[in-house]
């Protein structure tokens, strides 16, 4: 506990709900609206529990949605003076299942078919299994997607929860077939890891007993995104053990339905009598206009949400609607050429601007495209969703880079420990060396890498000197890491990290004064003075092909828009194109006319006027 901790503690003591959540001693659900300071409450509570309530060998379990959110959480905890110890778990759901369920107990219960040592299926293998399922079922690829199967698998666990999610009998059949083939392959994937762990917790008293002894408290962030399996674990722990649950989430920010994460689970928890429900309804981010506008886009049935601006009081929002003639490129250009200069003129710094695009997939590399344009205009930017994934190894490389730039930022021992454990994990013959020999070599390599000018040279030097790619061939734990590292190298050689200084890579997770470019999904948790939303075309956002009005999928699109708008503190700029050319499956270009998105219409209803509605040319 340090000064910052006490300062922030004083801060939340002034908000009745936050203070109540911070001090709760029993099972608690915190329903936290946008900008309600939930991360602060959660991290302060974590610190308090670790210091005063949890004693080794018990520890704190703190689970969040993604590696990125975990990294953020850890950073916040460190700022409050938290020191890592062997008893606490702070990580993702997968990490938790791996470290605390599958590794210690997998080998004890052969009936669950947990491969020992753990073998994680590569994307290639998953693809093969998927193809096998498709051909066994005799359907076309568009008959059922991998995403459909995974969603069904995530929902397949049957436990205590009474939430009913309608399932498609064909999806059930396909997912069971997939599961069977995966089992036969002797591997697990992220979904089966979580499902098997949940099953073990439910069925094996000893596992429950250990969890209870190990973790008197479970703090769970982004509950609405974590899916059914976690929900079942929580219910199981609540019913069968003395472990306490502190769950934080917001049904209205549930945007991962395609993973099987529906708001219904959080809702169920919220209505349970043995959970205290604490809503956080103060908004410390946006002005009241933005709050109301974002609630409009949700289009929920009454009663209407009631959130109050507590920081930007009495301020009004500024919305701008810009229509381009054709294609995505015009949208990028107007952003770089006109919108950003204007925002800068108003005194808004780069870091207070967020550009939210649709996706960063192979077919629609919108983040990369946007970034490329910013690069041309020499506008500094920061990418939340890169083409490569922020894996453990990528994070570690970044930490190594930080050490190369400033020794005080990272512990060399810690970096080496990770490397050494990788050698062991991959049965690398170098693990047999004297540890000190390996350590000396590693030290020399890192020192030697310091004189590399740019990210690409540095990465190449590190990869070659450590023989990293060779080690990762046929990796059980990181089967797709070499492909991922190739994407990283490509980014450094040809794309948005080209000719970048090492510091850019080292602090990739911490924007300096840069514009943030992100997908809509990855914008969660971020906030900006001004948010620029691209691709506001009906059919593209929301996606309407084969999506029924009022369906779960459509509701989720509304929530996604809600999340995006509520990132803004004050200002929101929406952009759309009238025509966009797509490639048909045969590879022919096909130009389609697009109407404005329904969200555009909702917002223009509330905020639109001649003053703020433009075509790209006259903006």
């Amino acid at each position: 506990m340090n000064k910052l901790f006490y300062k922030d503690q004083t801060l939340i003591s002034k908000d009745v709900s936050q203070w109540k959540a911070y001090n709760s001693n029993n099972n608690t659900v915190v329903i936290a609206g946008p900008g309600s300071g939930k991360t602060r409450v959660l991290t302060l509570k974590a610190i308090k529990l670790v210091q005063s309530n949890i004693h080794s060998p018990s520890g704190l379990a703190c689970i969040s949605y993604s590696r990125e959110t975990v990294r953020e959480l850890k950073k916040r905890l460190r700022e409050y003076g938290y020191q890592r110890n062997q008893y606490d778990f702070i990580g993702t759901m997968h990490g938790f299942c791996l470290i605390h369920i599958l590794q210690p107990f997998g080998h004890l219960f052969p009936e669950y078919n947990v491969p020992v040592p753990l073998k994680i299926a590569s994307n290639e293998l998953i693809g093969q299994i998927y193809n096998g399922v498709i051909s066994d079922l005799g359907v076309e690829f568009n008959g059922i997607s991998m995403m459909d199967i995974n969603k069904q698998r995530s929902l397949s666990f049957i436990g205590i929860s009474e939430v009913q999610i309608q399932t498609d009998a064909f999806h059930v059949q396909a997912s069971e077939l997939f599961e069977k083939k995966l089992k036969e392959s002797g591997s697990v994937d992220f979904i089966s890891m979580v499902n098997i762990s949940t099953k073990m917790i439910k069925e094996q008293d000893y596992v429950k007993k250990t969890l209870e002894a190990r973790f008197p408290w479970f703090l769970i962030d982004e509950y609405q995104d974590l899916g059914k399996a976690l929900h079942e674990i929580v219910l199981e722990l609540k019913n069968q053990t003395g472990a306490k649950i502190f769950a934080v989430g917001d049904m209205n920010q549930s945007i991962y339905g395609f993973n099987g994460a529906y708001p219904d689970f959080l809702n169920e928890l919220d209505t349970m009598s043995d959970f205290e429900s604490i809503p956080l309804t103060s908004n410390y981010r946006s002005n009241q206009d933005i709050i109301e506008g974002s609630i409009d886009t949700l289009a929920l049935n009454p009663p209407r949400l009631s959130y109050d601006a507590k920081k930007r009081i009495g301020e009004s929002a500024e919305l701008t609607f810009i229509t381009c003639e054709a294609e995505r490129q015009q949208q990028y250009d107007v952003v770089a050429k006109k919108i950003i200069p204007k925002l800068l003129e108003k005194g808004i710094p780069y870091k207070e601007i967020g550009i939210l695009v649709g996706a960063n997939s192979f077919a629609n590399p919108e983040v990369t495209e946007m970034a490329a344009v910013l690069k041309d205009y020499k506008i500094p930017f920061y990418i939340v969703k890169w083409t490569f994934t922020n894996t453990d190894i990528v994070f570690w490389l970044q930490d190594c880079a930080q050490w190369c730039l400033d020794k005080s930022k990272q512990s060399f021992d810690g970096l080496f420990k990770f490397w050494h454990s990788q050698l062991k994990l991959h049965n690398d013959s170098r693990f047999l060396w004297e540890e000190i020999r390996q350590k000396t070599l590693f030290h020399e390599i890192l020192i030697g890498s310091k004189n590399k000018e740019n990210v690409f040279d540095w990465l190449e030097f590190i990869f070659n000197s450590l023989e990293l790619n060779e080690m990762l061939v046929d990796s059980n734990r990181y089967p797709d890491e070499n492909e991922n590292l190739a994407l990283l190298l490509d980014e450094a050689k040809n794309k948005n990290l080209k000719n970048s200084k090492l510091s850019r890579f080292a602090y990739l997770g911490e924007p300096e004064d840069e514009i943030t470019v992100t997908t809509r999904h990855s914008s969660k948790g971020l906030e900006f003075e001004a948010v620029i939303m691209l691709g506001m075309e009906e059919g593209r956002f929301p996606y309407t092909y084969r999506v029924e009005e009022g369906s779960r999928q459509m509701q989720e699109a509304h929530r996604l828009c809600y999340v995006c708008i509520s990132r803004a503190k004050r200002e929101c700029i929406l952009i759309r194109s009238k025509k966009i050319t797509i490639m048909t499956r045969r590879g022919d270009p096909w130009t389609i006319d697009y109407q404005p998105s329904r969200f555009w219409n909702i917002l223009i209803d509330r905020f639109g006027n001649i003053e703020n509605t433009f075509s790209s040319k006259d903006y």
Partner: protein
């Protein structure tokens, strides 16, 4: 609540042990000859669990490899020690700490491994050796100091200076015991001050003042021009910690200090304090008022309010006496949850606790410890008084084989409850002698008990020279004893009567066939033979899975006898005396008559009748006369001194030879 215990030990290549795998129990008594490696067995456990061992102690060297392994270091041999722990699951801290060490959940079992192994370079050249201690199956889960803080072993060596340890201030068990109570510092300060005040009174004595003056004067004379010549006297400075050391044990009404106690009593005192110290303290005996109040809002606190009462000083709440087992269990789980003090599980190992202790006390004390104590204890001992009161399933026996020691234990012995009671009673009465034999010859009665040592002597090999023990089990229920000996790896043979009987098939009133066995009859050439002894032994071998039913050559008694012989069972024809008489020549029969005459109670007539039966070769009648007029035991006692080899039936000789050969084979 019984504490965790070491349930299994596996050792490879370490000192006496080449490859052993032995199951242990909550209480364990290690027996075996000197030099068999009892201390090394404990040391293997200590390498993993002993907190007082340094890293240097855990780092082995080439001399720690078993002697039979040639150039172990050059060949890259490894030393491995594995221990398993059970009965820890009621302790949440252990469950949490050893998450990665679980190797079974039914019953919950932890595993900890030690490995001393070579580090090789890329061309597989050995660079050096190092050790690793890890939890469970994953070598990445290192067993560290904080693991040892919660689970460890305390070995009290055989050669200890109890007096010194009892008075060793900070290391004294009494001081540690007192320390555990966390006595209020203010209280101690008050006492220390009043003691100081009282002590200063001494300075006011005229005699002391005079001493001060004398010293001062002398000092001045010697120091000459030295400026400041004041000398001050002060009683011992009493600080709070020292106050606690000053508490010492005095025994008896005369309050004798430890130094004056006999070594044996000091030993008991020391051991009993260690046992107290190691007791699971999850449920506190004393709760400070403040701590008590903090518990009041906890769920299920009634269990505390009902079972603690305020002390006389009103500073503390004291646990009531006479808490029943169920309540104790509830208290345990309550405090396990809410009392965050680390509760260490310590396994106690006592080497030769019999030292300097009278046999009667040995039995009294260790019966109590072995049967009732909640702590897990391992003894090494040579004392039959301790083994005799040890529960059957607590024995570990070390036995020397070529180049190595093998360890055998009774921990997983499955013996019928009644048989078990019988054996335990037998062991108790016979001072556990069965455990100390290098070989055991089991016999069914008093006659054999007297005769057989003599037979061996006549055959030129006194049994005592080889450490063979003759155990008379007073029945033909050999099975549990054989099980016990087999589980301990002790070579055995048994000698039993053939008990020939005549079988008569009768029909009862309803015409049902009924067989009647007639014992004590002579077999007539050409009639059917039946032997209860053979039947019993066959059944035993089958029950113990030494033989299968189909292996028994039912058609031929000589073949059956041979099979039994090969499996260490030596069976006679009738009973020893009758077989012996039948085996004897004139001279031998004369000896029977002579012995009878020496011990008979009646007159000449009695002798005449006996002689007649012998002469008529009515040996069963002769035996009946021995039994009625003298008793078989008394007769055998006397007979043994006059026995000649010619009189000894072959099955007895075979039995004696059998065990002698086995013991010899093991030691050559």
């Amino acid at each position: 609540m019984k504490s965790p215990f070491i349930s299994r030990v596996k050792i490879k290549n370490f000192r006496n042990f080449l490859d052993i795998d032995v199951k242990l129990n909550h209480k364990q008594v290690l027996v075996g000859e000197n030099g068999i490696g009892k201390t090394n067995f404990l040391r293997a456990i200590q390498i993993i669990l002993d907190q007082s061992f340094s890293d240097f102690d855990r780092e082995l060297s080439s001399s720690d490899f078993n002697d039979s392994i040639e150039t172990p270091i050059e060949n890259g041999e490894e030393i491995k020690i594995t221990i398993e722990i059970q009965n820890y699951e009621h302790n949440r801290q252990l469950v949490a700490q050893f998450e990665d060490a679980v190797i079974s959940t039914n019953p919950p079992t932890l595993q900890i491994n030690y490995k001393y192994y070579p580090i090789k370079d890329e061309v597989e050249k050995i660079i050096r050796y190092q050790y690793i201690i890890y939890k469970g199956i994953n070598e990445e889960k290192i067993f560290r100091r904080e693991d040892r803080d919660l689970l460890n072993i305390k070995v009290i060596g055989a050669l200890r200076d109890v007096e010194r340890e009892l008075n060793a201030n900070k290391r004294s068990p009494l001081y540690k015991l007192v320390k555990q109570y966390n006595i209020e510092q203010d209280e101690l300060k008050k006492i220390a001050e009043s003691m100081k005040d009282a002590a200063e009174e001494i300075l006011n004595l005229d005699e002391i003042r005079d001493v001060k003056n004398v010293i001062e004067k002398k000092f001045t004379t010697l120091a000459g021009l030295q400026q400041d010549n004041t000398v001050n006297l002060r009683p011992y400075d009493i600080d709070i910690e020292r106050l606690l050391y000053t508490i010492q044990v005095y025994m008896g009404i005369k309050e004798r200090p430890v130094a004056e106690l006999s070594l044996g009593l000091a030993n008991i005192l020391y051991v009993s304090m260690m046992m107290l110290l190691l007791k699971d303290k999850t449920v506190p005996r004393i709760l400070k008022v403040e701590d008590y109040k903090n518990l009041l809002d906890k769920e299920g606190v009634e269990i505390v309010t009902n079972n603690y009462k305020i002390s006389v000083t009103e500073n503390n709440y004291i646990l009531k006496d006479e808490i029943n087992a169920d309540t104790n269990k509830s208290l345990y789980s309550f405090f396990d949850r809410y009392n965050y003090q680390p509760h260490t599980a310590t396994i106690l190992a006592l080497e030769e606790p019999e030292a300097h202790l009278h046999p009667v006390l040995q039995r009294l004390i260790y019966r109590e410890v072995l049967h009732k104590s909640e702590s897990s204890v391992i003894f090494t001992t040579h004392s039959p008084y301790i083994t005799s009161v040890a529960p059957l399933e607590t024995i570990v026996h070390g036995r020397y084989e070529v180049n190595q020691t093998k360890m055998f234990s009774t921990a997983s012995l499955k013996i019928d409850e009644k048989d078990k009671e019988d054996i335990e009673r037998y062991l108790d009465a016979k001072r556990g002698e069965i455990y100390f034999g290098k070989g055991v010859l089991l016999v069914e009665g008093i006659t054999e008990e007297y005769i057989i040592p003599k037979v061996a002597q006549l055959m030129g090999t006194p049994l005592e020279d080889l450490g063979i023990v003759v155990c008379n089990i007073h029945s033909t229920n050999f099975k549990p004893y054989v099980q016990l000996l087999e589980s301990l790896g002790i070579p055995w043979s048994l000698i039993t009567d053939g008990d020939y009987y005549e079988l008569e098939i009768k029909k009862d009133k309803e015409g049902k066939e009924k067989s009647v066995k007639h014992y004590h009859r002579d077999w007539l050439e050409g009639t059917q033979q039946n032997f209860r002894g053979i039947e019993l032994m066959n059944k035993m071998l089958i029950d113990l899975k030494i033989c299968e039913d189909k292996d028994i050559p039912k058609a031929s008694f000589p073949d059956q006898l041979e099979l039994l012989r090969n499996n260490n069972c030596h069976v006679g024809f009738y009973t020893f005396e009758v077989d012996s008489m039948a085996n004897s020549n004139e001279e031998g029969l004369l000896t029977f008559k002579k012995v009878y005459s020496e011990v008979r109670s009646g007159g000449e007539k009695q002798q005449e009748n006996f002689d007649n039966e012998i002469d008529d070769r009515n040996f069963w009648n002769a035996l009946k006369k021995i039994d009625n007029n003298i008793s078989k035991g008394r007769f055998a006692q006397r007979l043994s001194s006059q026995l000649t080899l010619e009189m000894v039936p072959i099955y007895i000789k075979n039995g004696v030879n059998g065990i002698i050969n086995k013991v010899r084979a093991n030691h050559e």
